[in-house]
Symmetry: C2
Subunit: 428 residues, 2 copies
């Protein structure tokens, strides 16, 4: 788990990509506006054809910002990459069904894009909406689509497969479950409300129809907006501030590091990004037995505020050369934060935007909990891979985590109006 920071919507220095609020229309909530549409004949129906929810009941409480905040589906980039962490997330991978090829994939991406656009606006799904998100606002819902290595062979598009999708190298510490790794298609769903996220997951699964089958599916979470006074960096289930050194959209080289340039290869990936997904279990029973001091030696930062052990606060650069009275490095050589420093890795940078996960307990009583690590970069061979190689060799944290699943996906740029995600690949 490299040591970098995700920008939050509330961060003063990183205000971009803040979801558009739709509650600022004279106190009329998004749902009430949609209700007007409902009154003109658009009603919810379980049997298809519905395009809007009915009006909220009279006297309903106006939506707060949690419900009314909205991310945009159309744009240069897909949503779900630079937005603040969301309280609930679903990751789901699909394999194309036997017999399904380029044509079926194109139709599927067209359906998915239509559904994502509607749901992100707080509207009902185009076909057979389940009603689960009814009454709720968009709640910062994002839906993000990616292609895995296998997709290109199954659709006859091998020549369009990016070299960046070559399989990740094996890491010695990996204990990967292949049935929960990879996949032809990947969808990331995030929202600040669990029912809104679940509603989107079911709609995406339904859209898959006979074209694709679920390969694996995972659930995650982050803090609820407003639960914490800490403005920027999230804690993970080990209690660490996790994401301190994340690149920020305001950084001059942010776009270059995270997104494929317009002049890049292949052309259909312009403004896209590559997502590395790792299910990283935390061995919490072992971790929690360590003293606070021992935990801080493993990480190289203070647990309370994320400051480097060499001093300062969370944003202070780490003094790698500082030694104590015995001549030992204050930040140990195998400390996680030392190994993952971007300037120790040729300037490699990835944008980490994870969810925590907790799937209960195993039969032996140990918690099945940890991090759904998701990182974004213009080139995985310059972002994730070199950092993970170094971690694999000597990270003090490796005793307390286990990589259990892995995926690498090409996430194309955002769809323009009238376009669907991946159209430039599938109709290129």
């Amino acid at each position: 788990m490299p040591d970098q920071s995700v920008p939050q919507a509330r961060t003063p220095e990183a205000p971009p990509a803040r979801p558009e609020s739709v509650s600022g229309t004279g106190g009329i909530s998004r749902r009430a506006l949609l209700g007007t549409a409902g009154a003109t004949g658009l009603v919810l129906g379980a049997a298809g054809g519905a395009v809007g929810y009915a009006a909220a009941p009279a006297g309903a409480t106006p939506l707060t910002s949690v419900g009314s905040e909205r991310a945009m589906f159309h744009g240069k980039h897909q949503p779900g990459i630079t937005e603040g962490l969301q309280a609930r997330g679903h990751l789901v991978a699909f394999d194309l069904a036997p017999g399904a090829g380029r044509k079926e994939a194109a139709a599927l991406l067209r359906r998915w894009s239509a559904t994502a656009e509607r749901l992100m606006a707080g509207e009902a799904a185009p076909h057979g909406d389940t009603g689960v998100a009814r009454d709720a606002g968009p709640s910062s819902l994002t839906v993000t689509f990616g292609f895995g290595h296998g997709f290109f062979g199954r659709t006859g598009l091998e020549k369009q497969r990016p070299a960046a999708l070559d399989p990740l190298p094996d890491f010695s510490s990996d204990q990967l479950d292949k049935s929960r790794s990879d996949g032809d298609l990947w969808v990331q769903i995030g929202a600040n409300d669990a029912l809104v996220a679940f509603h989107a997951l079911r709609a995406i699964q339904k859209d898959a129809g006979s074209a694709a089958r679920v390969r694996w599916q995972m659930n995650g979470f982050n803090r609820t907006p407003g639960a914490t006074a800490h403005p920027m960096t999230a804690r993970n289930l080990m209690g660490q501030l996790d994401g301190t050194r994340n690149p920020k959209p305001a950084d001059a080289d942010f776009d270059r590091r995270i997104f494929v340039p317009v002049s890049g290869e292949p052309a259909w990936m312009a403004n896209g990004s590559y997502a590395v997904v790792r299910r990283i279990r935390m061995l919490l029973d072992d971790w929690e037995k360590l003293s606070l001091a021992a935990q801080e030696q493993v990480i190289g930062r203070r647990k309370a505020d994320g400051a480097p052990l060499s001093g300062g606060d969370e944003t202070t650069p780490m003094d790698l050369e500082k030694t104590d009275a015995n001549g030992d490095y204050v930040v140990p050589l195998n400390a996680h934060a030392r190994i993952t420093r971007p300037d120790e890795n040729g300037g490699a940078a990835m944008l980490r935007r994870p969810f925590s996960y907790h799937d209960g307990i195993d039969a032996d009583g140990t918690p099945d909990a940890g991090l759904l690590f998701i990182c974004w970069q213009a080139d995985p061979l310059r972002g994730f891979v070199p950092v993970q190689r170094k971690l694999d060799r000597g990270d003090a944290l490796s005793k307390y985590i286990r990589h259990e699943a892995s995926g690498l996906f090409a996430v194309p740029g955002g769809a323009a109006k009238g376009e669907y995600v991946g159209q430039r690949l599938l109709e290129g």
Copy 2:
């Protein structure tokens, strides 16, 4: 799933038990106040002895109401019964370890009570806090403790076992997994922030030490506060308003129906309540294939607004005799809402306060999702059992749900200051 309603903190007519806000102290957040304590020598430590979190970093955003809202540990009743639904929940059952008896159980309840009191106030756990909730406010955390049937034999307290804990009758539609049912001890954790809830779960598990072992553990969720404009009734994962007829704390007979009277038996259960817990899987693939009209016939209410099919709005009494042009009942005889009407069940009433759950997908691709049904009543034989008996015989909904686990727990009254939960039983 009987058809009754949980009061929400935002409901105008049901304002009691609203969590106390701790942010109204001149703009100083709870964490900042705790930080003052930290500056006087109370600091977080992983190795025990810590009693408070350090100050939030300078310039931190004040907590919003989500983080700062606080439920009270001490009181007539335990917390977690009448409060509004929380965004995240954990249910965990323990069995006493071999050799552990009344003395060890008393020490455990004392530890648990001390931890619950601290965490509900937004403070660190008494011993070895993991730091996961650090920076967050109390976030309406509640921790609730109950005793199962087996507890009394293992502690030599058979004579104190309430008759109300006699095993629930078998229902023909049950498909119960015994390994995820029952248990000597039961803990319900709820909070509006997922990390705050997880933090409490780990602290409770750690406190168990060698006295008790986890038997089963389940995770659930509800809407995020502010995500919906609907003021009162939650939707479940079928998209139904679920809880329309729930008794309300303002009802004249609320206390009598939900809580054991001071004059009740056994004496240690005064002001306590009985919790029935059922893991009810929803067969969503089948349910979602039904048309909207067919779903409404199964439930007996309109999906959009929860109004009875006989007309009106959500709160309109159901007209059980109303017939259509063909002479058929408008609310079908096997409709779920008809069968579960309290006035059709001898006035039996239970307070339902559930969490939805979603544990991913099974190997066959079907969703493992549904309801962690939790209902509260003064007497399960007058609350849950008669309603479930009727549902078992003829509920149209039964084709679309499956009861997979079950528990029944005696939840004693709240602890007074200086007392721990269950003390009147364990030291009575």
